[in-house]
Amino acid sequence: MNDADSAPLLEVRDLGKRFGGLTALSGVSFSVAAGETVGIMGANGAGKTTLFSLIAGNARPSAGTIAFAGGRIDGLSPDRICRLGIARTFQIVKPFPGLTVLENLRTAAMFGRAGLRDRREADAAAMAVLEEVGMAALASAPAATLTLAGQKRLEVARAIATGARLVLLDEVMAGLTATEVAQMLDTLRRVRDARRLTLIVIEHVMQALMKLCARIVVLHHGERIAEGTPEAIGNDPRVLSVYFGTAA
């Protein structure tokens, strides 16, 4: 049996994804320990969202393996992966527009790892999440009426309501105002600590990434070019050359 304390919660090995002739991701390896918060950095088209799609099962890897809590998950369907305990948010938000905010979370609580088949139990769990993320007042609002910040928050709330152990956050702060970013950061830290979540965070808002993560993985043209603490990444010559074009 696996030693739960030392084995990583998520282990990605030599992961690759080709779309026809385009290589979106190749030879990416990294691991995430339970309770860690890891950032994923990279320019547009670096393969960040593709990486999330592979882990969450929305796309199948062309090469490599993904292991979660000791078992292989690559090639499983998204709903099975969700029931195992991985949830993701979508960079381009995908709410259930015709359902209320509470009903959006009910789906997650009923069908995710939480598996609360009873509607009352599911709604109680959903309501608890809404309180935690500060959306309780919007519970009965149709999701279509939310602002962008509200919809980003709904993505996060829904992912948490699945009862996931690992949550993949895809640019949940993009397009928000400075105040909204600060509120989101605060919420994420609070919920992470309260629920002992493991997070992988894709973010362009660098300061947010620095504040949230102890470790950052940098992707460029589908390959992992650097990994380390935020300070080390900030001084890494390869990263600087990719971002600022200096000849290092």
Binding site: A56, G57, N58, S77, P78, D79, C82, R83, A87, R88, F90, K94, P95, F96, P97, G98, L99, E103, R106, T107, A108, M110, F111, G112, R113, G115, R117, R119, R158, T162
Partner: protein
């Protein structure tokens, strides 16, 4: 207020259902025939909603199940007990849905609409070809049960279809279907087994139309392939569902009654302009009240609430 309305609805449904249940004991053949038609449309429309209203996969080919059920009764006529043939019609329709469901439900939106229509036409012409190869242009059923028995069978199917949609609509399964209707990729990522759920909804929505087709074959006592696979049957059920609105059992009942009454009145009062006026009514609904009759009632209630 909402509770009062819902209990008023329950009373109206109970009175209507009770009236329909005893109609053959008091009514003449014409009235019983009218009741039978209404019950048939309720059964078909409720069944259609189990797939199309709940999942958003609009089936334009639901008549294929009706036709298969009718065909089974006709080819097994006087060879197997009738009750068994009717149940068999439901099983056949469900099995056919299970068979074609996996490939057909892979496509969404307009592609699914066209594909479902294509499948029903394909089956229609296949059976036509088989029948004419066998040398039969049409068939006649001798010794079919009387109208009263047919009526009660249809009554049972209408009740069953209503209970089915009610059960689905209120269940966890139903919430999963609504979620995938709203956004399939998000639903799947949140743990809803979308492939299995869509297939199950398709199979459930097929069984009762198969039995309805079987019972209606007994009513007409003659069988022409083009008639039991008539695309207008699919279209009429869709029109009734859209006129009713909503995704619970009230919409199909309201829509069926509305369309049935309007078309009967028009047919009697304005036989020449009948289709023109009916078309205008349908177009008007789509433009002015896309939420159907239930949508109109809800918005009136909302206005009343905000005005008070």
């Amino acid at each position: 207020m909402a509770r009062w309305r819902s209990s008023a609805w329950i009373v109206a449904t109970a009175v209507g259902a009770g009236g329909l249940a005893v109609l053959p004991l008091f009514g003449n053949d014409y009235l019983v025939g009218v009741g039978l038609t209404v019950l048939m449309w309720i059964a078909l429309t409720q069944s259609w909603c189990v797939l199309s209203k709940m999942t958003g996969y609009i089936s334009l080919g639901h008549v294929v199940f009706y036709g298969l059920g009718a065909y089974l009764v006709v080819v097994t006529w006087q060879q197997v007990p009738l009750a068994l043939a009717i149940v068999g019609a439901g099983v056949l329709a469900a099995a056919f849905a299970a068979l074609v469901g996996l490939p057909v439900l892979r496509v969404r939106g307009p592609y699914f609409v066209i594909l479902s229509f294509g499948v029903s036409e394909l089956v229609k012409f296949s059976i036509m070809a088989a029948e004419s190869a066998g040398g039969t242009a049409s068939r006649i059923l001798f010794g079919a049960p009387d109208l009263g028995a047919i009526y009660f069978a249809m009554f049972a199917l209408a009740v069953a279809a209503t209970l089915l949609l009610m059960g689905v609509s209120r269940s966890r399964f139903g919430h999963g279907l609504r979620s995938l209707r709203e956004n399939e990729e998000a639903a799947e990522t949140l743990g809803v087994p979308v492939v299995r759920y869509k297939l199950l909804a398709f199979v459930l929505s097929a069984a009762i139309p198969g039995m309805v087709g079987a019972v209606m074959a007994l009513r007409s006592t003659y069988f022409v392939v083009g008639q039991v696979f008539d695309p207008m049957i699919s279209v009429t059920a869709i029109a009734m569902a859209l006129l009713g609105g909503g995704d619970d059992t009230r919409g199909p009942i309201l829509g069926t009654l509305f369309l049935f009454i309007v078309s009967e009145v028009l047919w009697i009062r304005a036989p020449l302009a009948y289709m023109l006026i009916l078309g205008a009514v349908l177009a008007g609904f789509v433009l002015v009240a896309p939420g159907g009759i239930l949508g109109l009632l809800d918005s009136r209630r909302a206005r009343g609430a905000s005005g008070a």
